[in-house]
Subunit: 345 residues, 2 copies
Amino acid sequence: MTDRPIPPRRPMTLRDVSEASGVSEMTVSRVLRNRGDVSQTTRERVLEAAKDLGYVPNKIAGALASSRVNLVAVIIPSLSNMVFPDVLGGITEVLDETHLQPVVGVTNYRPEREEKVIYEMLSWRPSGIIIAGIEHNDACRKMLTAADVPVVEIMDVDGDPVDSVVGISQRRAGRTMAEAILKQGFEQIGFLGTQMPLDHRARKRFEGFTETLARRGMEVADQEFYAGGSALKKGREMTETILGRNPDLDFLWYSNDMIGAGGLLWCLEQGIDIPGRLGLAGFNGTELLDGLPRKLATMDAGRRETGREAAKIIAGRADGTLTEPKRVEIEPTVAFGDTLRRYKP
Amino acid sequence: MTDRPIPPRRPMTLRDVSEASGVSEMTVSRVLRNRGDVSQTTRERVLEAAKDLGYVPNKIAGALASSRVNLVAVIIPSLSNMVFPDVLGGITEVLDETHLQPVVGVTNYRPEREEKVIYEMLSWRPSGIIIAGIEHNDACRKMLTAADVPVVEIMDVDGDPVDSVVGISQRRAGRTMAEAILKQGFEQIGFLGTQMPLDHRARKRFEGFTETLARRGMEVADQEFYAGGSALKKGREMTETILGRNPDLDFLWYSNDMIGAGGLLWCLEQGIDIPGRLGLAGFNGTELLDGLPRKLATMDAGRRETGREAAKIIAGRADGTLTEPKRVEIEPTVAFGDTLRRYKP
DNA sequence: CTGAAAGCGCTAACAT
DNA sequence: ATGTTAGCGCTTTCAG
């Protein structure tokens, strides 16, 4: 056995497949992209050679040459929020039918991270951007506009979108919830939410809520906020605190289902009559609520549908089917569950 | 005002910044990458021009020229599982200190999707791959090996890793849990889990569990599986079913905390003495459990730490600090909570 | 400290 | 149906 020096391992290229199959690089490229007419024989020969070598095309080179990138940037504030995985599910569902691929970036609700993530994503020249929220700082807006890429802002339609927008009106959601609560005759309403000045969606919801109360000459009787920790536990604690401070409250609205669930559990343990003595509602329409002792009222924000619609817009833009910015407002629906309806219908 | 035809909008390049700043493309490139010596004056001039134009470098071209990509592919089965966002948190925490960027791909526990995601990710020539699980089909293993990229398989160390591996031994976790349960004198043990032949980690855990029982001449008295739907609700239903069928059970082990929580809630409603009459335990050490009426026993799988260690390995490989494959076994710990300890310590 | 030339691995646009 | 040529926008390398 001769002892020839091993040449340094060079990354594999089209050329290797070309040589292995005895076909020009161009034809190999055609086969690998199912493009143009290639004879059945050549096609098979190439495919076999490629598979045999374990060849994976270099999309970096491909993208540079074709100025086409099949990536869709999805920028969201958090993964642990329950709602974002759902949106992502809707996006994936639609993109799976196309040649497009979602790529996720997380900002942790921090504007400076959002800026960095957008910059980073844009530097890969994606086919589209789906981004949570409609509030972005100037730098972000500038980048998104200048990039000349389809942009879909999601989960909030109250404001001035960069391009397309899909989601519920958070303000309207707040109003609708307030109306539902008032209609049931509740009057002393407490609000419990996250301490997040940067969660604009929660803020707008709250604004819509108070606005409707104000129109009837009412206001939120008490509020309580939390940050960090187990949302379920915080829900308990905040509920105990707010009711301790203000025993006359007859309704509690929670800014998300998880803290609402915590509150519900605590109230049941205390033997509080729900919803006779105290009504409760959460927000998001989380699946989780199905397993609680009593079904917490909530509001479905159409997360999955939001994801689907956003993805459809990007896909439409990518294949030229769609050329204009689009605005899709999703209708949020109140789920009364067992904790909001005081009077039997 | 003259009516000159607007030239077609061409994507912005280094050249535009070069012209705007009156400096060669090469120097602009140097400034933008903080590379080499550039005079303070030139640097500022370039930076201003770039910012002014809203220039975002084209990483595709950069990566092609330098064969350096700052992306780390993170491939996980699901986002709605609670555990993966935590791992991702650990990964991000470490990568944030570097120039590397995580990019997430989701497989939905489907091997054919895993294959596709790996292929797609590899085609972008990432600096590393972090992938959940150690079980991959031949095509996947072949790609991962051939790619000549640092690979870290996570969350399971029982098997033959492609390269590096970080996580708990799922089998050992099952054994440890069995020992803890037996030590408390429980004897009629039921198991409740997900109906997922492809969730190898759950399977191995179960195998370790039964193995330990077998060593004492015991076996799992009954089992129940579910697929899809609200885990909390399924936990309730399964618990009712299994206890209905087999009232003599004195312990239930759930393959995840969410169904465990459902079971716990149901049992408490039924007035079952926990853990006197019936012991319960989940798995994962989820934060969620903090808010339950009683604290469910569980096992912390060190998710965040797993993410951190995996990211450290990739970072080390990327900067040349680390050259050998590494194996990091994380120690899972039993959290007794209020539902496992029969006798006060 | 700055610039010029060559080329990364692929594909568009033409040949043939 | 297949091959040839000329870049894509950047970075590497080498010269000033």
